[in-house]
């Protein structure tokens, strides 16, 4: 058992447990905290795949930004304490059946796919490679992403504006 193997199973366990907690806990605020745990665990998966830059982005944007925004939204739409924050689920059996069917479908596809290739050694610094790709072949996409972020910001401002 190498360190990577142990790390993968630990992180996978944490990720799956916190993901399940996100969709099952009745307290919405707790669900957000579990989501933060799941997002950090995903970042560690990136680290296991030797992508430290994506780990940092994941922590900054997801675990930092998204969780903060969601907590704000919950505080604005629910009282933080009290039973209003508890949320119920419906169609539990149907949801479980559909999710399990999707999972079985994906795994059935994975079983047939030729994926046995071993992991190649990482030769280049991927942070440098990502930076070069962003201003090289993906420059137009990067610009479009900037436009999208501006539009999203304006849209969020428009929806959240005061009524006058």
């Amino acid at each position: 058992m190498t360190l990577e193997t142990v790390g993968f199973w630990v992180v996978a366990t944490v990720l799956l447990a916190s993901s399940l907690a996100v969709v099952l806990t009745p307290n919405l605020f707790h669900a957000v905290l579990y989501l933060a745990a799941a997002l950090v665990a995903t970042g560690v998966v990136f680290l296991l795949l030797e992508q430290p830059f994506l780990f940092a982005v994941q922590l900054l944007l997801y675990a930092g930004g998204v969780v903060t925004i969601v907590v704000f939204a919950i505080m604005l739409t629910e009282r933080l304490v009290g039973e209003r924050i508890t949320q119920t689920s419906r169609h539990l059996v149907n949801g479980a059946v559909v999710s399990a069917a999707v999972f079985v479908g994906v795994v059935g596809f994975l079983v047939q796919a030729p994926l046995g290739a071993p992991r190649p050694a990482q030769t280049v610094d991927t942070t440098v490679a990502i930076g070069r790709a962003l201003v090289g072949p993906f420059a137009v996409t990067l610009e479009l992403l900037g436009a999208l972020l501006v539009v999203a910001l304006l849209g969020a401002l428009y929806f959240a504006r005061s009524e006058e």
Binding site: V22, V23, E50, Q51, V57, V70, L76, T77, A133, L153
Partner: protein, 100 residues
């Protein structure tokens, strides 16, 4: 050594869990959290494929999906807040304004 299928199965599991959340949650914010999990699973798949194929494009796309997700969450939560202002609820079942 952990192979590519292990990462893909992990991604598929997280995706299914997120889908379960989207299907079963009543609260609109809870549904958004499920969507977050699903997009996160996609990112795991992208990074795993990029790493095992030695291709930087998957990593760049992961960056793009992360950014787009953040924008989506900002707009989605703004919509949730706007809905809450009008209807005083964020229960998805009661948001049936467009039902004939």
């Amino acid at each position: 050594m952990i192979g590519l299928p292990a990462y893909l199965v992990l991604g598929a599991l997280v995706f299914s869990i997120g889908l379960f959340g989207v299907l079963t949650r009543r609260n609109a914010v809870g549904i958004l959290l499920g969507i977050e999990l699903m997009l996160n699973a996609v990112n795991i798949n992208l990074v795993a494929f990029a790493r095992f194929n030695g291709d930087v494009a998957g990593l760049v796309f992961t960056l793009f999906t992360i950014s787009i997700t953040v924008a989506e969450v900002a707009v989605g939560l703004a919509i949730v807040i706007a809905i809450f202002r009008v209807r005083r609820t964020v229960e998805a079942d009661r948001l049936d304004l467009l039902r004939g």
